[in-house]
Each structure stands twice: as structure tokens, then as C-alpha cells.
Symmetry: C2
DNA sequence: GCACCCTTTCTACAGCTGTAGAAGCGGCAT
DNA sequence: ATGCCGCTTCTACAGCTGTAGAAAGGGTGC
């Protein structure tokens, strides 16, 4: 059974992706989720509470993806990297990351857009940053991976890697890359992303 | 003389940086710019017009910086790279870029935050993207620079470079890097950014 | 049955927002 | 000075938003 909390927060995520934070209102969530007016307001009395729930939901979805990544369930698209941490084949990691990014651009587009909106929002509401933990898991993985690959400062390099990969994603999601890069969901796009990530990896793994 | 248009749009930029797009209302701009209530509404009758003016102002400021970059006026902080396009010393370019990024994180922070908010907004209002031309100049420069450095596909590599650099900036501005990275404005931060950019450059210039 | 509690739904209301028109004001040409 | 025109300021108003409290419903244990 899908809890009502999930229904509400998922609708909120969709709204934020479609219209930005400004579109996030109690009544709009009700409408979007086809719930009676007032429902969202009853569950989350203040707007702040609603936003926090939304962000928490994003974090929960990520956590679920991390779990799912351990299982061999490839019919469900996972938005977390499923590479073994010990892998030192940088090209394979690049390919997996390229495919992962492409998935965020297609099926995961809504979540990705909502996420960036929330990260920006966290600038004025720091508590959101703690809930979201944006890229924390990815950073840990990148550090470990770069350490295994023999980077001199895997800590720093891992952070740089995640920031740059996030930049590639954001560019194609909202920036100029949305127009200039190959269309998401295509092999060409995956190849392009993979090439960029591969260059990054090889550069940072020293 | 500072035109009233500039006063209004600058106040709008500050507002968006501080409170996000949601804080951008006609009356809030009036208050922020200490203008009589109704002024902003008279100049930009609709909210859409106000946003477009804001975005146009961001583009104008960038254009002004590009001009200023040609002059030897280093008392005015320029937010555009001032490297000669023909330069092939990648390490020097990396250092300049690192310093540039650090400037965006300190003095240029307001503009940078407003810019990202607008890029995200452009997702649902494509006309904004055309006005803003986010990173267009930077992309042109990066392509030329990488071509001079002998990259096999300078077009693609330049786009990747700009996207990654943008990612580094965004991470420190709003993401986790805001907490984990060295504080903006310090030599350590410039060094850290320079190192990341240098790795990027060397990797992409092939 | 009925009293109780929790969930859900409805309604109220003050304040804010977007938008437009009216009023005021200064200068310029006649 | 007079009438006109643009810029500026003020005011009105309908609709939306955030928030809270009141009503309705439905199940459980007595």
C-alpha cells in the first residue's frame, strides 16, 4: 500500500520539477494528486513542513535506490551507481556513470530537477541541506574508487569528480547542454557522457 | 546616472539570490530598492516582464564584464576570463580560472546564485534561456582554447569543460562543497579550484 | 447501543500578489 | 499661462496562499 504521505510528497516533487518552488502550494499539491482540497494542508500544516517532507522523500528515494542497487533487479531503473567499490577499471566505471547520468536525464528527470531546485533552496534554508545530503553517497563511492585507483588525494579528487559530474548533469538538464548535447536516452548521449566522465576519471586518478 | 531600470533589476537580482524566485514580487522589489510601492509594477506590468528584465540585466552585466576584461582595469573585479585566447599554457589558464571561480563565490556570489535560479527557471520558460545565453561566451572561449591546445574534438571538449567548471562552482555555492571545501576568498580555495581545473584541462585537451 | 479517538474533509479568514487604472506632477512647446 | 505629454506615484480589486479550527466519518472497545 502506498501511504498518503508518499502520494503527497511525490506530487510535490512533480510540481517542483514542472513549475519550480513557486508552484509548490498546498492546494496545488492537492489538485496534482487528485486529493480533496485541504488534505496537504492537514498533513503538513506549514509550508516549511511540506518542503521538508518533500526533501525527505527525495532522500528516501535515493536510499531505496542504493538498496536496490545491491540486488540484480535491472528491470527497475536505479538512480544510484551499482559499481563494486573495488573496481579499478576506470573505463568501465565511466561507462556505468554515463549510463547512470542518461537515466537521470530521462526517467529520473523529474527527480533530478526537483533535487536541484531543493539544493538551491537549501541556500536560504540550511536545514534542508542536512536532510537532503545531496551527493553524500556518491562522494563516498567516488572517494573509495579513486583511492583504489591510486589517486594521491582521493578525498579531494572524489569531491571534484562528483561536482563535475553533477555539472554535466545540470548542464544537460537545464543549461545549454539541453539544446546542444545529443538528446537524452540515445546511445550517442551515453557515449558523449561516458567520454567526458572517462576523461575526468583518468585525470583525477593520480 | 544609474537608470531606474538598473536599480529595479539589480534589486530583483539581489532578492532572487537571497530568497529564491519565490521572493521575487513587485512589492518586494520596491521595498528592497527603497522605491515607492508600485514603481516596479509600473515599469514591468507583469511578473513575466519583470523576470525577463532581470535575466536581461544578468546578460548585460556579463557583456559589460567581457568588455572590461579587455581593459587593464584590475581594480574592478571582472567575472569573465581575461585570458588571451591563443594562450596554450594550460596551467596558467587553470590558475586564472580558479581565481575567476573564487571571485564568483565571493563578490559575485549574488549574481551567481541569481543566475542558477534563472537557469533552473528557464526549464519551464525557454525564452529565458535565449536571453540569458548562460555560458555562451565561456563555451566559445573554451572551445577556441582547447582547439589551440590541440584537442581532437575541441567543440565537445569545450562544452564538457564549461559544464564541469559550472559544476564546481555550483557545488561550492549551494551544494555540499559549500561546507566541505575550503572557504571562498582564501588562497587555499583558489589552489583547490585551480588543481581541479588543471586536471580537467589536461584531460580534455587531447 | 454508545462513547471515544483518529483520520479525513470542509470552511474561514487574514494577508499577500498580480495587474490595471486613476491621480498627481514636472517640463516643454505653443 | 495654457494645454499637452511623459514619468511617477497612489489606489483598487480579484484571486491566491498559508494557516488554523470546525465538522464529518468510521472503526474499536466497552
Amino acid at each position: 500500500m502506498v501511504t498518503r504521505y508518499a502520494v503527497i510528497t511525490d506530487a510535490a516533487i512533480a510540481l517542483v520539477a514542472e513549475q519550480g518552488m513557486r508552484g509548490l502550494t498546498h492546494r496545488a499539491v492537492d489538485a496534482r494528486a487528485a486529493l480533496p482540497t485541504g488534505t496537504t494542508s492537514a498533513y503538513y500544516r506549514t509550508r516549511k513542513a511540506l518542503i521538508e517532507a518533500l526533501v525527505q522523500r527525495l532522500a528516501d528515494l535515493d536510499a531505496a535506490d542504493l538498496q536496490a542497487g545491491d540486488l540484480p533487479a535491472d528491470d527497475v531503473p536505479a538512480y544510484a551507481p551499482s559499481m563494486p567499490l573495488s573496481d579499478t577499471d576506470l573505463d568501465a566505471i565511466a561507462a556505468a556513470t554515463g549510463a547512470l547520468l542518461d537515466r537521470w536525464l530521462t526517467d529520473g528527470r523529474t527527480r533530478a530537477l526537483a533535487r536541484y531546485a531543493c539544493v538551491l533552496e537549501a541556500t536560504h534554508h540550511p536545514e534542508l541541506r542536512d536532510i537532503l545530503g545531496h551527493g553524500t553517497a556518491a562522494r563516498a563511492q567516488a572517494r573509495a574508487m579513486l583511492a583504489a585507483a591510486g589517486a594521491t588525494d582521493p578525498q579531494r579528487a572524489g569531491d571534484h569528480f562528483v561536482a563535475c559530474v553533477d555539472g554535466l548533469l545540470f548542464d544537460r538538464l537545464a543549461g545549454a547542454g539541453a539544446l546542444t548535447a545529443p538528446p537524452p536516452g540515445t546511445a550517442r548521449n551515453r557515449a558523449d557522457l561516458t567520454a567526458a566522465v572517462r576523461a575526468l576519471l583518468h585525470a583525477l586518478a593520480r
